[in-house]
């Protein structure tokens, strides 16, 4: 399988002249296309920072980060924005939808920055909302949707650019367990269809829906291994296995 992400001795520190806070102390791992990886760790372990760097929202301090063989540390701001709009899709814990825009508008949002014609935008967003079972909620604003529905809108938005990889940052954190399982089911289905997924979570149970877990602790990798007893969710939100 071809390499999607190659990280070598990645370090990240924040700070000014007086105080320097080291977050990541040198991480090395690869992620192949089609993988479903959980990045796990307690709060303060650096998992959010790692996701921001992998998601082109932040830059690394030291080390190497290749995306599809490209050295990301050499990219300018606008090129990073291009990468965000064409290579990745984000699903956030707090959904991060625009509350005053409709479901359809929210899903179309990333396409605004890709010069996609309006007709094409509407078609793709509508198709995806149908796929996540919200085809009947196109002109609803998010505040009329349940948490689970909101997260499904967010997933549709993450998919609209046909990204190489989907980042899900605590996607079940604000959901009841049934809705959470529905979201995990969608992610697992997407992975079955060939989408690469990186799931960031602090819960072991949620992390075990992936196929591999990278465990972070204090800015270092504690372990990096396949999931032995994988959790499989079904679409009704009940656990099959």
């Amino acid at each position: 399988m071809s390499k999607l992400i190659e990280v070598k001795d990645l370090k990240k520190e924040y700070g000014n002249d007086e105080v320097i806070t080291k977050i990541l102390h040198g991480l090395t791992f690869d992620i192949d296309k089609g993988e479903f990886v959980s990045i796990m760790g307690p709060s303060g372990s650096g998992k959010s920072t790692l996701m921001h760097i992998l998601g082109f929202l932040d830059t690394l301090s030291e080390g190497q980060f290749l995306f599809e063989g490209r050295d990301v540390s050499k990219l300018e701001d606008d090129e990073l924005a291009d990468m965000r709009s064409s290579k990745i899709g984000f699903v956030f814990q707090a959904f991060n939808l625009l509350n005053r825009s409709t479901t359809l508008e929210n899903v179309m949002l990333p396409l605004l920055y890709t010069d996609t014609p309006k007709k094409e935008r509407v078609k793709r967003a509508t198709d995806l909302l149908n796929q996540v079972g919200l085809g009947h909620r196109l002109d609803y604003t998010p505040n009329k949707l349940s948490g689970g529905e909101k997260q499904r809108v967010a997933i549709a938005r993450a998919l609209v650019n046909d990204p190489d990889i989907i980042f899900a940052d605590e996607p079940t954190g604000n959901l009841d367990s049934k809705s959470g399982l529905q979201v995990m089911k969608i992610l697992q289905d997407l992975n079955e269809k060939g989408h690469s997924i990186i799931l960031v979570t602090h819960e072991k149970y949620t992390a075990e829906h992936a196929k591999r877990i990278i465990m972070l602790k204090d800015g270092l990798i504690e372990y990096d291994q396949p999931v032995e007893h994988r959790q499989i969710a079904d679409e009704n939100g009940t656990l099959i296995k």
Binding site: G55, D77, D78, A81
Partner: protein, 413 residues
């Protein structure tokens, strides 16, 4: 990012904050409306002032006495200080008429006198005008006639009266042939002037005209005039004719240094352009003042855009995390500011034109010769200026928005 999308995003954001948007547009439109009103009123004022000149024929060349060496203000100084220049003689006028490009001329002198008809007394300005004044100034005759050259030559006691004098003294009756008394001397009314209204604040209907020589000999005991008006035949030769008059008078008054001229020759064209300059200057000054209110509106735009950017930090961060470039965000907020200011411009122009029209109605209602005009440049200036204000004052908040760090912006805790 397509401009159409930018426009849609920005305008729908503005529509969500209806009250704020409307208030900002109003604040800006006041300034814009003021600019339009000032420019339009300036045009109206100009038309009114220049309209006053219409009573004079453009072919008229005016020669007026002045205090030598006092520059442009000489003739005004001579009037204000009471210095009397006695050098402009009746003979000078007769020589000027002989110049090739001048067909007619008359000299004039004015005086305040009490006139009397039956039991009524009235203090009026007496215009001692030569007989040719009727043709040089194109005087409008309501009834009767203007006095003749023969009557002037014979120092006849004849009078041509203003409309209000006729109205006050004679009412509906005819005035022709009746006698009025000036300082006890009987004058026969030969004609009545049409109603003229005021010219530069001077009531042109409460005056009487008598021959210059009659005024000089019967009342003043002098042989000099305050000025001469001459009619130029070929206007293309106006400047040459003006020089001819100056040479002639210098020669006759033994003046070698033009700075020591005891007269000043003015063409109607010069008066017109002087007035235009004055009105233009006043208008410009007022526009400069009004620009302050535009500036205030502009600062208001900056303020409101800063508030907007701060309120929408999350939206900006989200957009950036989903692939928006800094310049996409910059343009989004710039376009928002420009839609605000351009709307303010359009609203301002509409109100400006409406109010200018009301001013025009009011002014004409008061009998002023006011013209309604909104020059295209006023509208272009107003809208252009307001949009530039949007760009200029919107750029800082937009830059702030564009430079937001998406991680900070979307962090919810």
């Amino acid at each position: 990012m397509l401009f159409k999308d930018l426009f849609t995003i920005s305008s729908s954001a503005l529509l969500r904050q209806k009250m704020r948007t409307i208030l900002t547009i109003i604040a800006l439109s006041i300034g814009i409306a003021s600019v339009v009103i000032i420019i339009s009123a300036g045009k109206g004022l100009e038309s009114m002032v220049l309209g006053e000149l219409d009573v004079y024929s453009p072919n008229t060349l005016n020669i007026e006495v002045r205090v030598p060496g006092k520059g442009e203000t000489g003739s005004a100084t001579s009037m204000a200080t009471g210095v009397t220049i006695t050098s402009l003689k009746n003979d000078d006028m007769e020589e000027i008429v002989k110049l090739p490009n001048i067909s007619l001329a008359y000299n004039y002198v004015t005086s305040q006198q009490v006139i009397k008809y039956r039991e009524q007394n009235k203090t009026v300005t007496v215009f001692g005008y030569g007989a040719d004044a009727a043709r040089v100034d194109n005087l409008k005759i309501l009834e009767g006639r203007f006095y003749t050259a023969e009557e002037e030559k014979s120092v006849a006691q004849v009078v041509f009266i203003g409309y209000k004098i006729k109205d006050d003294f004679f009412g509906e009756d005819t005035a022709i042939g009746k006698s009025i008394f000036i300082k006890g001397k009987s004058f026969r009314v030969v004609g009545v002037q049409e109603e003229m209204g005021a010219s530069f604040g001077f009531d042109m209907d409460s005056i009487i005209y008598i021959p210059t020589k009659t005024l000089q000999k019967r009342f003043l005991g002098t042989d000099y005039a305050m000025g001469i008006n001459a009619h130029v035949i070929d206007m293309s030769q106006l400047e040459n004719t003006k020089e001819d008059v100056e040479m002639l008078l210098r020669d006759r008054h033994d003046i070698t240094d033009p700075d020591k001229d005891d007269f000043k020759v003015t063409t109607m064209e010069e008066i017109r352009s002087t007035l235009e300059t004055v009105v233009g200057g006043i208008t410009l000054l007022l526009i400069a003042l009004v620009c302050i209110s535009l500036l205030v509106g502009g600062v208001g735009i900056t303020n409101i855009m800063y508030v907007t950017v701060t309120e929408r930090t999350f939206e900006i961060g989200l957009r950036k995390s989903l692939g928006a470039k800094s310049k996409d965000v910059l343009w989004q907020f710039l376009v928002e500011a420009m839609i605000l200011t351009a709307s303010g411009g359009v609203v301002g122009v509409i109100f400006g034109v409406l109010i200018s029209y009301l001013i025009y109605l009011g002014a004409t209602g008061f009998g002023l010769k006011w013209a309604f005009a909104v020059p295209i440049y006023a509208i272009v200036l107003a809208i252009g200026f307001s949009t530039s204000v949007g760009l200029f004052f919107g750029i800082y908040p937009a830059k702030k928005a564009a430079s937001l760090d998406p991680i900070v912006a979307i962090r919810k805790d």
